[in-house]
C-alpha cells in the first residue's frame, strides 16, 4: 500500500508537475534566447489537456497492439523509475542492491517504446526515424554506463543508489572530483541525447522527416508521449543529481541547493539545444563513441586510481 502511494504521489503526480514546470522553463528560456515572449506557466499542461480531448487516429497499416501499448509502457516505466529515484533520495537505507542497474534499464525503456511505436505505425518516415533512434541509443548507452560506473567506483563498488548517496554525504559530492566532473559532463550530453533534443534530435527532425518517430501519433497517445518526455525531463536530471551532486534533501538550505542544481541542469540542457544545429546520425555516433567514450574512460581510470 505504501509503495502504491509512493508510485502515485511521488512517481506520477510530483514528477509530472515538476516535469511540466521544467518543460515550461525550457520553453520560456528558449523563447527569451530567441527574442520571443514565450508561453505562460501552465502552457505545457494546457497542451497535454488539449491533446487528451483530440481524436486518436490509428493508421490502417499499423500493428495495433504495439502501437497502442508503446506510449503506455513508456509512461509507466518513467513512473517506476522516478518512484525508485524518489524513494532512494528520501530513504537511502531502504533501497535494494542493484537498483542502479534497474534504473539504467528503466531509463532506456522510453526510447525503446518510441522505436516500437514508430515501427508499428507503418509509416516510412517513422521507420526512418526509428532506425535513427536505434542508432542514437547504441551511441549514447556506452558512455552513459561508463559515466555512471565512475560514481559506482567512488562509492566503493556498490551498485546501490543509497550507498552512492551515503558516500557523498560523508566525503562530499562526486562532481567535485576530476573523475566525477568529467563523468557529469559526459552524462549531461547523454541526457541531451536521451531526451532527443538538438543537437541529437535526428530521430524526429522536423524539417527532414517531419517529426519522424511520432508522425502517426495523435490525441491521447501523443499526450502520453509528451507527458513521458516531460517526466523524463525531471527523472534524468534528478538521476544525475542523485549520482553526482549528492541528491536533494528536504531541510532548508539543502532543498534550495537541490532545486538550484535541478534548474541549473535544465537550463544547461536548454542552452545546449539552442546554440547548436542538428547533427547527422553518423556524426552523433562518432561524437559519442569517440570523444565522449574517451572522456568517460579517462574518468573511470581516474576514479580507479583514486580508489
Amino acid at each position: 500500500m505504501l509503495y502504491l502511494l509512493y508510485l502515485l504521489i511521488f512517481g506520477f503526480l510530483l514528477t509530472a508537475v515538476i516535469g511540466l514546470f521544467a518543460s515550461w522553463i525550457d520553453r520560456k528560456l528558449t523563447a527569451r534566447i530567441q527574442y520571443r515572449v514565450g508561453p505562460p506557466l501552465l502552457q505545457p499542461l494546457y497542451d497535454i489537456l488539449k491533446l487528451l480531448g483530440k481524436e486518436t487516429l490509428i493508421p490502417i497499416g499499423a500493428t495495433n497492439l504495439p502501437f497502442l501499448a508503446a506510449p503506455l509502457i513508456g509512461l509507466v516505466s518513467v513512473m517506476i523509475v522516478s518512484t525508485m529515484l524518489w524513494v532512494s533520495n528520501l530513504h537511502p537505507q531502504q533501497t535494494f542492491l542493484g537498483d542502479v542497474i534497474v534504473v539504467i534499464y528503466l531509463l532506456l525503456i522510453p526510447s525503446l517504446c518510441i522505436v516500437i511505436g514508430a515501427f508499428a505505425s507503418g509509416n516510412p518516415l517513422a521507420s526512418l526515424g526509428a532506425s535513427r533512434e536505434i542508432k542514437l541509443i547504441l551511441s549514447y548507452e556506452l558512455p552513459f554506463i561508463l559515466a555512471v560506473l565512475v560514481a559506482i567506483i567512488q562509492a566503493d563498488f556498490s551498485i546501490r543508489l543509497g550507498d552512492i548517496l551515503a558516500t557523498q554525504a560523508q566525503n562530499g559530492i562526486i562532481a567535485v572530483s576530476w573523475s566525477g566532473g568529467l563523468a557529469l559532463l559526459v552524462a549531461v550530453m547523454c541526457t541531451q541525447a536521451k531526451l532527443a533534443l538538438v543537437p541529437f534530435d535526428a530521430p524526429e527532425a522536423e524539417t527532414e522527416i517531419s517529426h519522424g518517430v511520432l508522425i502517426e501519433y495523435s490525441g491521447t497517445l501523443l499526450a502520453m508521449f509528451q507527458l513521458m518526455r516531460s517526466m523524463l525531463l525531471f527523472a534524468l536530471p534528478f538521476f544525475l543529481i542523485i549520482v553526482y551532486l549528492g541528491g536533494i534533501s528536504g531541510n532548508g538550505i539543502q532543498l534550495v541547493y537541490g532545486a538550484l542544481a535541478y534548474v541549473g541542469l535544465v537550463a544547461l540542457i536548454t542552452v545546449i539545444r539552442n546554440t547548436n544545429p542538428r547533427l547527422k546520425i553518423g556524426q552523433v555516433l562518432r561524437f559519442f563513441w569517440g570523444p565522449m567514450t574517451f572522456l568517460a574512460l579517462i574518468a573511470v581510470l581516474l576514479a580507479l586510481g583514486n580508489n
Binding site: 528558449t30 534566447i33 530567441q34 527574442y35 520571443r36 516510412p124 518516415l125 526512418l128 538538438v198 543537437p199 534530435d201 535526428a202 527532425a205 522536423e206 524539417t207 527532414e208 522527416i209 517531419s210 539552442n274 546554440t275 547548436n276 544545429p277 542538428r278 547533427l279 547527422k280 546520425i281 553518423g282 556524426q283
Partner: protein, 393 residues
Amino acid sequence: MPRTILPIGPYHPLQEEPEFFILTLEGETVVDIDLRIGYNHRGIEKLAERQAYDQITFVVERICGICSTSHPFAYTQAVEDLLSIEAPPRAQYIRTIVAEGERMHSHLLWLGLAGHFLGYNTIWMWCWKLREEILDVMEILSGNRNNYAMFKVGGVWRDIREEDIPVVMKKIDSIIPTLEKLHKAVMDDPVIHARTKGIGVLSKEAAIDYCTVGPTARASGVARDIRKDCPYGVYDQLEWNMIVTHNGDVFDKVAIRIGEMFESIKIIRTCLSQLPGGDIECLVKNIPPGEGIGHIEAPRGECFHYVRSDGTNRPVRHKIRAPTFMNLPTFKETVVGGAIPDAAIVLAAIDPCYCCTERISVRDTKGQTVYSGEDLIKLSQKKTEQIKADMGR
C-alpha cells in the same frame, strides 16, 4: 539494396511553398530525385497581357512576396528598353536603394530558414528579428513592408523625403553590429561547419553546364553578376565587390549571402549620401510597337523579363524567367549521392522560390500522365489544325 521512395511535399514542413520532391533512397542515401512543380500556377504572364503597362508593375510585384522588387525592376527595364528611354538619375538611385533593401531582407530570410532546416532555431529567430529592421527601413522609404509599389515605367512612384535619410542611415548603421555578430556566430560554429562544408557540392563545370545564376553560380566560382556584367540602375557608378567563392558547397552559399548583405549596406549608404536632385520620373505618352528585354540581379540570380508591344496600351506578350528556374535542375547534381539529412539543407541552399518559377503541368484524373512541353505544343498544333479544318480551309 531495396529502394524506398521518400516524398517531400506537396505540403511539407521543410518547404514554405507547395512543391513535390520524390527522393529515391537506398538506406539513407539518395540515388535519384524527381521534381514536380505547378501547385502555385496563377497564369501571371496571361494576366499581364490583359493589363495596361502601368498596372503590370503591380501584377508582377505579386509574383512573389520576396522578389517584389526584382520583377517590377526587370519589367520596367524591359519597357524602357522598348521605348529606348532612361529613368532620371534620382529615380535610378531610388530604384537601386529599394533593390538592395530587398536583397538584404531576402538573404536574411533565407539565412534564417537555413538555420531552421539545420535544426538551429535560434539562428532562425535572430535572422528574422534583424530582418524586421530592414522591413522598417523599407516602410520608411516606400510606405510598405513587402510589396513596395515603387516602380513605374519611366521612373518611380514615390520620392524619398530628405528628412527620412538621416533616420534610415541611423537604422542601417544599427544593423551592422548585429549582422557582424550573426556573421561570427555562423562562420565560427564548428557544428555548422560539420553540417554544411563539403555538402551538396556543385562543381564549376556543372554550374556552367546547368546555366546556374546568382549566388548558386558565384558559390561555385562562376563570377557572374548582372549588376557587374550588364549594369543597370546606378551600380556602375558605385564602389562595391562581387563576392565569389570556389567550393560550391552549402557553406559557401551561406558565406556568399552574408558577404552580399555587407555589400548591400555599403551600396545603400553610398546611394543615400549621393542621392541627386531632380525629377523622379520621365513622362511616357504611348508605347510604340516593338520589343524589349530587361534583366536584373535578383537576390536569387538573374531575373529576366521580355515584353512585346503592338502599339496598344497592353503588351501582346510578356515572358518572365525567374532565377530559380535555372537553379532547380542542379538538384540532380547536388542532392543525388548525399544522405537525407543533407538533402534537406541542399534543397534549400539555392534559395528556391517556386511561385516565381511555376510552369503548368497537365495530368489525367488519376494523376498519372504528365504532358511534356513538346506534347503540349503538339496538342496545340493539333487543335489549330482542327479549327482550320472546321473553318473549311
